[in-house]
Symmetry: C2
Amino acid sequence: MNFDFSPVLSKRAASAGSQWKGYPPYHFVGGNIDEATVPVDELATALDKVFRAEGHSMAKYGMENGSQGYLPLREFIVGNLKRRANMDIEPEEVLLTSGSLQAMDLVNELLLEEGDVVVLESANYGGALTRLKRLGVDYVGIDLDDDGMRMDLLRDALADLKQQGRQAKYIYTIPTIQNPTGTIMSQERRLEMLAIASEFGVPIFEDDCYSDLIWDQKRPPAIHALDTEQRVIYCGTFSKTVAPALRVGYLVAHWNVMKHVLPLKTDAGSGALEQMVLAEYLPKHFDTHVNALMPMLQAKSEAIVEALNEHFGASAEFTVPVGGIYIWVTLPENVDSSILAASAGAEGIAINPGPEWTVYGEQNKNRMRLCFGHPTIDNIREGVAKLADVCHREFGVPLRSGNVDR
Amino acid sequence: MNFDFSPVLSKRAASAGSQWKGYPPYHFVGGNIDEATVPVDELATALDKVFRAEGHSMAKYGMENGSQGYLPLREFIVGNLKRRANMDIEPEEVLLTSGSLQAMDLVNELLLEEGDVVVLESANYGGALTRLKRLGVDYVGIDLDDDGMRMDLLRDALADLKQQGRQAKYIYTIPTIQNPTGTIMSQERRLEMLAIASEFGVPIFEDDCYSDLIWDQKRPPAIHALDTEQRVIYCGTFSKTVAPALRVGYLVAHWNVMKHVLPLKTDAGSGALEQMVLAEYLPKHFDTHVNALMPMLQAKSEAIVEALNEHFGASAEFTVPVGGIYIWVTLPENVDSSILAASAGAEGIAINPGPEWTVYGEQNKNRMRLCFGHPTIDNIREGVAKLADVCHREFGVPLRSGNVDR
C-alpha cells in the first residue's frame, strides 16, 4: 500500500498544484514579456563570448567573485543605477539574486518575525501580499492617488500603530510604475516619505522592478538616492527588460545591512550563466534595447486602452499607463472580479481579480489587473473583446449584443 | 545620522558576513570541482545552439513547460536515473531546482514544523544540519559503519522516539558516497531501511548528489527504485559532475507528493539557460564526460591519500575513497579540529572541522573533512604538507621536523 503523506505534511504544504496544461490563449497575468523583444541574437553572441572566456570559473560555486555574484554585472548595475536613478552605490552594496523575488524573500528574512507589521500601498503586487501572509506578518494598506502612496495616510497609519504600541518593520513601496496602479511617486512625495520614515524610525524597502519601463524614460530619483540616513533597501531586476526566465534581480543595501543579508542567502549562488551573459550584453546594448522596447510596449498599452474603450465603454475606468506592463481597471460596482476571473479563465482568458492584488479585497471586488506585456496586439484586442462578452453574460455589463457595442 | 538597523533585524539575521577576500590558496572545503574538468567547449556549442533556437521562450517565466522546468532536461533525467539508479519515473515526477539545496529546502518546507524531529546519518553534510537547526527541528544521528547507516541503530532510534510519543518526520540519507564518510549503502541495507521505514510509518528523503562520482561507476539501485510504497523523495544534481555554478538540481517525487511541492516553489522558476544547455549537452556527452572525470578524480583521491600517509603517517586514519570529492579523516584524540581549522585558515588552508559535519560534535572533535575535487594534485600535496605542519605546531602530532617526516 502506498504511503500516505497527508498526515506528515507541514501546515504550509496543504495546497496542491496541478499538472501543467499550457498557457491560456489570452494571457493577461504575470510579468511575462513579448517573445519578439527578447534580444536572442545579441544575447547569444554575448553568451558565447563570455562563456568561452570564463566558463571554467563555473567550477566554483561563487565563480571568481564570491557570494555577492559576478562582479562585472554588479559594476554595470552601479553605473546604470547612477545614470537612471541617481543612486551612488558601490559593487559591495549589490547582491545578485534569483529574480527580485529572492531579494524580497531576503529582506523579509532579514527584518520580519511572525506577528510583525509592514506598511505598504493598499493596491499591491499579489506575490508580496501572499509572502507576508505566509510569514504570519500583518500589513496595513495605504491608499494611493495619481501621485502614488498618500503621505497623509502613511503618517496616520504609522501614528496609529505607534498608539497601539506597534512599530512598522518597514515601509514597502513600488514608487515608480506602481504595481498595479501604474503611478509614479513625485520627488516631493519621495522626500516626504523619507522624512516620515525618519520621524517614526522605520526603514524603507523600495521595489523598482518596473522603473526601466517608462515610455518617455523620465523618472524622479530613486528614494534610495534621496536618502541621507542609509534607511533604504532597494531592489530591481532585468526580468521585465531583457527576459523573465533569466531570473536575475538585485538587492542594493548599505554594507551595514548587506553584511547581515549575505549569511541569509544559503542557495550557494544564483545562476552564473545569466549573470555572465548580462554583464557582457548590457553595457553595449541595454540603452538601445530599452529605447526600442518602449514604443513597442506603449503600442500595446494603447491597444489595450482602445480595446477597453471599444468593448467596455463607460463600464471600464482606468488611468492610461505611462509605463509598465499592466493596467488597473475599475468595473461597475455589481461586478465581482473573482467570479469574472473564474468564468473568463474557463474560456481561456487569464486575469488578476482585484482582491488578489489589494490589501482591502472587499473594496476592490470590482477591479482587475490586465497585463499587456506578453500578448500580441491582435491577441489583446481579441482577448479584451471576449472578456467583455464574459463580463456581460455574468453581470449584464458592459452592454453588448454579440460582439457589437450598443 | 544613519539609521541603525540592529534593533529591527530578525533573530535569524543576527550574524554578519564579511566582504569577499578571494579563495584560500589551499581550498579543501566545499563542493567545488576542478576548473579543467568543466567541459567549456562542448557546453558553449550546446548553449549557442539551444539558445538561438529557443531563446525567445525566455519571455515567459515558465518558458514552454511551466513551473517544473524545461521538459527536455526532465526527460533526460528520467532516462539517466533509469540507467544509473534503476529508477522508474515520469517527467511529471521531476522538479528542476536551483541546485539540490533548493530541493532540500522544499522537502523541509513540505514536511517540517518547528519542534519536529528528523533521523539522519550522524556524520553528515553540514548544510543539512544548519538548515534543520535554523528551522528549530531536532535531529537524531545514526552512526555508520563501512556499509553506511546502521539499521540496528536506526530501528532503535525510531523505537526510542515512538516511546517518547514522537514520530520522525523523515529519514534523511545520503546512501551513495555518503557525505562525509564516502560509504555506499548495500542493497540489502537499503531494503532493510525501507522495511523499517514502513514499520514505523516514516518517509525517506534520499540525497543522491554524489552518486555519479564512483570510480568504477557500480552502485546499488537507488532506495527510490527499491521502494514499493511511494515513500521516498529523491534529489540529485549536476553540480558535481558538470559545474557547481550551474545551480541545476532536481527533486523526484511521486505525483501525490509533487503536487504539494509545486506551490511551495515561489521563485518563479530556476535558471533557464542552465536547464537548456544541460538538456542539449547531456544526452550526447554525459556518459563520456563522467567516464573521463572518474580517473581524474580518482588520481586526486590517490594524491590526497598518499599525502596524508606521507605527512600524517599513523596520525591520520581514514577509509580510502571509492568515489566522491572528500575524505573523512580521524586524527589523534588530542587534536581539536576546530582549533586546527582556525590556525590552518589563518595560513590559507581551508578545512571542515569534524564538529560542523556531525550530529555529535564532541565525539568528532578530532575529525576533519578534506575536499579534493577542486585543487590540483600539486596543490593537494602542498596543502596537506602545510596542514601537517600546522597540526604538529598546535598539537604535537604528526611528529615532524620541517617538512621531513620522522
